[in-house]
């Protein structure tokens, strides 16, 4: 399998009024073409900023300092010209954001936003062609009455509907890489399972690679081929999904697994104090081991 995304020694800091905050301390992470990779870990540990660096967005933020290598499909994102990076977004790579209601544009209808996205790949598409394709995609993510939805504004839809709209929009141009930041959180579990299965089938069919960011370890277990665990800006564990779940090697990963609430209802899990063991070196699992 060829490597699609190849991140090496990625570092990020923010410059603010109160000095410099280091956020990423040398992240290495790779994704093969068509591979589904999950990134899980602490809130605030740097998952979303990694996605925004891959998209080339943080490189254009003045307060952010990014160093290291971000190889995508043979090119180097960090040194690319801003307009070349912009051309990749929404075509070769696309993103599902954590907060769908605020990442959809509140002043345009869903139909308008679909057309805008599709015309990034093919500027000559007619509106009728865009609408037809949008309805097809919305049906695929099980949105009822998709033709009505095209005329709606985001505020007229529920949180979960907006999230499915985002998923449909992100996949409409058949990107090589999908960055999915918490794609299922606003969905009920039935629709979530269905949406993830669908996302799974779509990415499999088109050979789309996925970086899947989620706090829901149950969902990760069902969706991803491989998992990276991040803690305070460092990768602490990496391996095939089954192997990491059956045999978590790092203290932080173990604490995380133990803290998952269970539907069998043992009460809220005891939460260990942050321990020095969480800062132990990275644990790597062999490929193919389970």
């Amino acid at each position: 399998m060829s490597t699609l995304l190849d991140i090496q020694d990625l570092r990020l800091s923010f410059k603010g009024l109160r000095g410099i905050t280091d956020v990423l301390h040398g992240i290495s992470l790779s994704i093969a073409a068509g591979e589904r990779v999950a990134l899980v870990g602490e809130s605030g540990s740097g998952k979303s900023v990694i996605a925004r660096i891959v998209l080339g967005l943080l490189q254009e933020t003045r307060s952010a300092r990014v160093s290291g290598k971000v190889g995508f499909d043979g090119a180097e994102i960090n040194t690319m010209r801003p307009r070349d990076r912009a051309k990749l977004r929404g075509t070769e790579m696309s993103m599902i954001f954590q907060d769908p209601t605020s990442s959809l544009n509140p002043t345009f209808t869903i139909g308008n936003q679909f057309a805008e996205v599709m015309r990034r790949r093919d500027p000559k598409l007619s509106r009728a062609a865009c609408d037809a394709r949008a309805i097809e995609m919305l049906t695929e993510v099980s949105i009822p009455n998709p033709d009505r939805i095209l005329e709606n504004y985001p505020f007229q839809l529920s949180g979960g509907m907006n999230q499915r709209v985002m998923i449909a929009m992100a996949l409409v141009n058949h990107p090589k890489l999908l960055l999915a930041d918490e794609p299922g959180t606003a969905l009920d579990v039935s629709v979530q399972a269905q949406t993830l299965r669908l996302m799974h089938d779509l990415v499999e069919k088109h050979g789309t690679a996925v970086l899947f960011i989620s706090h829901n370890l149950g969902v990760v277990r069902e969706f991803a081929d491989r998992v990276y665990v991040i803690y305070r800006g460092n990768i602490v564990e990496e391996g095939p999904t089954a192997s990491v779940f059956h045999n978590p090697g790092h203290a932080y990963t173990r604490a995380l697994m133990d803290a998952v609430p269970r539907i069998t209802g043992a009460g809220l899990p005891e939460v260990p104090e942050v321990s020095d063991a969480f800062l132990a070196p990275m644990v790597r699992h062999d490929r193919g081991a389970a």
Partner: protein, 265 residues
């Protein structure tokens, strides 16, 4: 007397191409000090219900009584303070131009809570209680992670000394360790300050471990309401059963329970 009583509540919206009946003839009561979970289909009317409880939307028909009095469409400040909201979308619910500290402080100023000179300290206490560093109050919402913003939403609501808190997916953006910590904190505060929660979420494993009772919504209707243990071991409505049968799980005991419910035994 129940703290909150909802009678025959309905809400419809007119949209391009017709009407949406978001909430249809719902009745239930919430006791003081309890945690009632509201679960159900995406788009089933949970947030719409929350918006009506908060006075953000007015019902098409039906009534809402709080502590014995019927709530008017236009709420008085005392009621707005007493019923607080933690919103589903932390980013869009925080003012982008204000520091997060100023957002938390706004409630304290509006409802004249505490001495003016002590309010910044109170803001920092509120942030600290949800596990955020005190100095974070100077930051803009855009400089926070999703989970950090979500905790600001919780801090802001709790700082106002409410009686009833409507929490719409309050921990969905948190890792499970921080989530467990925040849920424990919410539980402690509930006991300590005699708070009442309406907890809207899709995370049934969380519901199992925090709620006293569960209300299940589907297509704007309340299809089942029961004690948490009963809902999870002997759900009556087929929709409840299918919902629990779809929960992503991590261990074998959970898998057993899920399979048993899926088979309907």
């Amino acid at each position: 007397m129940s703290l909150l009583t909802v009678d025959n509540l309905s809400k419809s919206f007119s949209v391009a191409g017709g009407m949406v009946h978001a909430v249809r003839d719902i009745s239930f009561a919430v006791e003081r000090g309890e945690c009632l979970a509201v679960v159900g289909e995406s788009g089933s009317g949970k947030t719409t219900l929350a918006n009506m409880l908060l006075g953000i939307l007015s019902p098409t028909s039906g009534s809402i009584r709080f502590d014995g009095t019927e709530l008017p469409a236009k709420r008085r400040a005392s009621h707005r303070r007493a019923i607080q909201f933690v919103q589903q979308n932390p980013l869009s619910s925080l003012n982008a131009k204000r520091s997060i500290g100023a957002s938390v402080r706004l409630g304290l100023d509006t409802y004249q809570i505490g001495e003016r000179a002590q309010r910044w300290a109170k803001v920092e206490d509120a942030l600290e209680e949800v596990g955020l560093p005190r100095e974070m109050r100077h930051r803009a919402p855009s400089a926070l992670s999703g989970g950090q913003r979500q905790r600001v939403g919780i801090a802001r609501a709790l700082a106002c000394d409410p009686e009833l808190v409507v929490l719409d997916e309050p921990t969905s953006a948190l890792d499970v360790l921080v989530q467990a910590r925040v849920l424990r904190l919410l539980n402690d505060l509930r006991t300590r300050k005699k708070l009442t929660y309406i907890f809207i979420t899709h995370d049934l494993a969380v519901v199992r471990n925090v709620a006293d009772r569960v209300a299940v919504f589907k297509s704007g209707q309340l299809v089942e309401l029961g004690e948490t243990a009963q809902i999870f071991t002997a759900p009556k409505h087929p929709y409840t059963r299918s919902l629990i049968g779809a929960v992503p799980v991590v261990d074998d005991a959970e898998l057993d329970l899920r399979n048993r419910l899926a088979k309907g035994t």
